[in-house]
Amino acid sequence: MTYTVHVQGLRKSFGGGTGAKVVLDGVDLAVETGSIFALLGPNGAGKTTLVRILATLIRPDAGTAKVAGRDLLADPLGVRRSISLTGQYAAVDDMLTGDENLRMMARLLHLRPREAAGRSAELLAEFGLADAGDRRVKTYSGGMRRRLDLAISMIAVPQLLFLDEPTSGLDPRSREQLWGTVRKLADEGVTVLLTTQYLAEADVLADRIALLDHGRIVAEGSADELKSSLRGEVVRLQFTDPADYKRALREVDALRADERLRTVEVGTDGSAASVYRLLGQLQAAGAPAARVSVERPSLDDVFLSLTENLTSANTGDNRHEQNASAR
């Protein structure tokens, strides 16, 4: 198995002295060649910092990293030749046209002017921008800007493509389109490292997902692995009468309950028999459920439970001890 990104013990703090803010607190990461890897985490988790380090924009304080077989610190130029970065805000020039953007980038990648013009026309067509090529990027929609951004990344097909929050601010249709484009690029053999705070995006796109929280990877695996690591399915029961809701809470072993919505969630193996048994039990206790649904855990549940656990387990001095022992 070969890895396009291999990171060990990466650390980064901003600011000095006692006020230093630890952004990456010992990150280990391995991204398999040809895969789509999602870094998932809330705002401020360190996703963008990690991408910026791997794209040679900032230097880590400690740790080692290999990108496309080249050492990040010893050979940053080699890394730059193998990667392409699309930023959180599409990295395109607003005042130029789409065609001018592509040609400029192609020239910077040292294509001859004629080759640059040809490549630009090809990519505009491929990314559905042929009609907009002579318009200034300022007039593009969000989806078009992202597509141009990706088209620029494909001028010289990179080994590793960074997509930093590629669909933030896009409408659902543009998001779907962009997902399709990213998948197509991965099929062409490009390794993709994307950051996102949308769990659905990681679920749909990524082969593997790492959850980043407070500068540490708190879980890693495929979407299915992460979901099954959490718990099984749940039966969600809703009651019309508040008294029924209270009786039901006493009767069953609830995983979660919401008094306002009068809903109770109970663990289940998903079989019809177990749901039948549960409903019978409630009927007998005089707390009949009004509505029933069976739900599989979503990545949201995984994420919330992992970040919750971390906060509750690491409160107060305990947290300091853990950090200290990790160092």
Binding site: G87, A91, M95
Partner: protein
């Protein structure tokens, strides 16, 4: 990589020139300013200013410096704006020559300012400016202007990189358009209040203005020989250029968006 430095830089110059031309408001202001200021100073203020001879013969170098100050402010804003956009991160993550991005901005700044200077000169000639300089002295005056604008452009770029936000960079325009008033740009220093005289006599804009004045009109307003003023002006420009260049390069290599 070095073999591509020229091609990388020319791509960046093209980019910055295109961007300058496509900001119609700023471009129009930059072109109108020299003409409007010329008419303002010569016909509105100039009537009662005793500078020995026609006022237009006195004021042209001052207006060139004033317009260059405005142009430098524009450069600071342009650089700050560019640095806060995602595209610079992309440039920095590409295998391109590091200095080419800044070089593009400097060359575009030089082009914008030389155009504004040409307009000041044209407007001046239009309202009766009659320099007595020989072609050689004209050449020396143009060299002075180029050196000054180059130094101001690097200073502006460094300022734009330092303050990061386009709004803060605007303050450079204000400062650079104000400083010429405390020099011999518009009135000889002997007419200034006593407290301001030493400031006007010893600030960098004065020898730069006096060099141009001496070369074009045959005598300076300070009475110092033009060679003396030119030497001082050259030293000032060289120092500003070296310091600003080093600062801008260092800030560019350090900076990261966000």
């Amino acid at each position: 990589m070095t073999s591509y430095a020229v091609s990388d830089t020319s791509v960046m110059i093209t980019r910055c020139l295109r961007r300058s031309l496509r900001d119609p408001e700023a471009f129009f202001t930059a072109l109108m300013l020299p003409v409007v200021l010329m008419l303002l100073f010569v016909y509105i203020f100039g009537g009662d200013l005793n500078t020995g001879g026609k006022y237009v013969n006195y004021v042209v170098p001052g207006l060139i410096v004033l317009c260059a100050g405005f142009g430098a402010g524009t450069t600071a804003v342009v650089v700050a704006t560019d640095m806060s956009s995602g595209i610079v991160d992309r440039f920095r993550s590409m295998p391109i020559h590091a200095s080419s991005v800044l070089a593009g901005h400097i060359v575009a700044s030089l082009a914008r300012n030389l155009l504004a200077t040409a307009l000041v000169i044209a407007a001046g000639l239009g309202v009766g400016w009659r320099p007595t300089a020989s072609p050689l002295r004209w050449l020396a005056a143009v060299a002075m202007i180029v050196a000054f604008i180059l130094a101001m452009s690097w200073l502006a770029a460094a300022f734009g990189l330092l303050v990061r936000s386009p709004e803060a960079a605007t303050s450079a325009t204000f400062a650079l358009m104000f400083i010429p008033y405390l020099s011999t740009a518009f009135v000889p220093s002997r007419t200034l209040p006593a407290v301001l005289r030493p400031i006007a006599a010893n600030q960098p804009f004065t020898p730069i203005i006096e060099t141009m004045r001496g070369l074009w009109m045959g005598r300076t307003s300070t009475g110092a020989p033009v060679g003396h003023e030119a030497l001082l002006a050259g030293v000032y420009c060289a120092v500003i250029l070296v310091v600003a260049f080093a600062a801008a390069s260092w800030l560019y290599s350090r900076r990261t968006a966000a």
